[in-house]
């Protein structure tokens, strides 16, 4: 910028203008920041309650009410899996004895990560597996959801070692479980997740079921 006297005045005016715009922007940010803070405050309790309800609902599907008299959502245990990742284990207890555990397991499907919840009783019998979140193709891969098919329910009642671990695969890979027509990657990913869940249980059985 060259500085001749009149231009100097202009730059000064422009500077003042920029300052003004800055102040306006600042005020709006402050005002709407305040609105957001208030909304957050007002909704915080409800959102926390909803998150706990969600957890409860997904846990209720893999830990039947009959086997526990505690609240598994709050009765948790932190363990590390074989990769050193932290796993939150939800415990079902009856009269102080651990009757079952549930934890999240992860697999990779056709369209990214799938989150599942797996419940196993103290003896290693699978109580249930449910998909919590996935992005699989509607109409093909989403048959892993319990409301779209009974495939995911086939695991209930099987247990660690029955069938042996290497049979927890889709039939195409030499295992015991059906793949879907047109979608093999999704069920394969689910079975990878389940195998990791079973391995986790075997490796930590003593700690998972110890009396508190």
């Amino acid at each position: 910028m060259t500085a001749s006297p009149p231009a100097n005045n202009e730059t000064a005016a422009k500077k003042l203008d920029s300052f003004k715009h800055g102040i306006i922007l600042c005020l709006f940010c402050f005002g709407f920041g305040l609105i957001l803070a208030i909304t957050d405050e007002v909704t915080l309790d409800d959102i926390t309650a909803r998150a706990i309800e969600d957890k409860q609902n997904s846990l209720a599907q893999v830990l039947p009410d009959a086997i526990h008299d505690n609240n598994p959502v709050t009765d948790t245990l932190m363990l590390n899996d074989s990769h050193g990742k932290e796993v939150t284990v939800f415990r079902a207890t009856k009269n102080g004895v651990v009757t079952g555990v549930a934890y999240e397991i992860f697999g990779t499907g056709y369209a990214g990560e799938m989150r599942l919840m797996m419940g196993i009783d103290a003896g290693g019998k699978v109580l249930g597996v449910r998909v919590l979140a996935h992005k699989e193709t509607p109409g093909l891969g989403d048959k892993i959801e319990v409301k779209k098919g009974d495939w995911i329910e086939k695991f209930t009642g099987l247990s660690v070692g029955n069938p042996p671990l290497e049979k927890w695969k889709v039939k195409k890979d030499g295992g015991n479980f059906d793949q879907f027509a047109g979608a093999t990657i999704t069920p394969r990913g689910v079975l990878v997740a389940i195998r990791s869940g079973l391995e986790f249980f075997s490796a930590n059985q003593a700690r998972l079921t110890e009396v508190k």
Partner: protein
């Protein structure tokens, strides 16, 4: 541009419909319309954001200098989206589980921003509120229509899961029109969104032609 409320309403709902005339907001219009219920939910959330942000921009229109208007608009839309996001998470949780992922995307929907720039920034607060509301409702109608066509052809149902969204009394509108395996999967996948949106734009323009109206193209500039 008249600020007559009837014109504003008709503009938003049909004549200058955000999706079918202005072709704005295409991302949610295609991504979220795999079923009529999803389209409806996304539309209503967008309408709420549009009404609130149009009103606020109109209220502050004399204080927002032209130089910083775009950041201020985006700030206002983003704040309203966050408010809707938090409120839905807390009080409409079932709907939130379906749409939650897509609510933040309203910020990047160009329809609210276009209406703020074209209408709310120049009009008093009440007409701006009406405009935001009816533009949002027009958007809702468009998304519901696209969703309905895709859902009927793609999965053979109409308004599936509407009771999750609107309450158990709406169980009656959940229809199954075709047997379960008859659906044309492609219609639920992204290509279906493009095909159905294109065809519905054609239908709207044919109806306008038959009514002897001049066809409005990309009407965002014509306001």
């Amino acid at each position: 541009m008249s600020s007559n409320y009837k014109t504003i309403a008709k503009d938003g709902l049909w004549d200058n419909n955000g999706v079918f005339s202005m072709l704005l907001g295409m991302c949610p219009a295609m991504a979220m319309t795999t079923s009529a219920t999803n389209g409806f939910g996304m539309g209503v959330a967008t309408a709420a954001v549009m009404a609130a942000s149009s009103y606020l921009v109109a209220v502050f229109r004399n204080h927002i200098t032209p130089e910083v208007r775009i950041p201020v608009y985006i700030l206002i839309v983003a704040a309203m989206v966050t408010v809707v996001d938090l409120a839905m998470n807390a009080w409409l949780h079932e709907l939130y589980k379906v749409l939650g992922l897509f609510i933040p995307l309203i910020v990047s929907n160009c329809l609210p921003l276009a209406r703020l720039e074209a209408f709310a920034a120049k009009q008093p607060s009440v007409p701006a509120l009406i405009d935001g509301l009816f533009m949002g409702l027009g958007f809702t109608i468009a998304l519901t229509a696209i969703g309905a066509v895709r859902e009927i052809i793609g999965s053979g149902t109409l308004f599936a899961d509407a009771s999750l969204l609107l309450g158990p009394s709406f169980k009656a509108i959940e229809l199954r029109l075709l047997p379960a395996d008859m659906g044309v999967l492609m219609m639920i996948l992204p290509p279906g969104g493009f095909i159905v949106t294109g065809l519905l734009v054609v239908v709207k323009r044919l109806l306008d032609l038959r009514a002897g109206k001049e066809i409005q193209m990309a009407g965002a500039h014509s306001v």
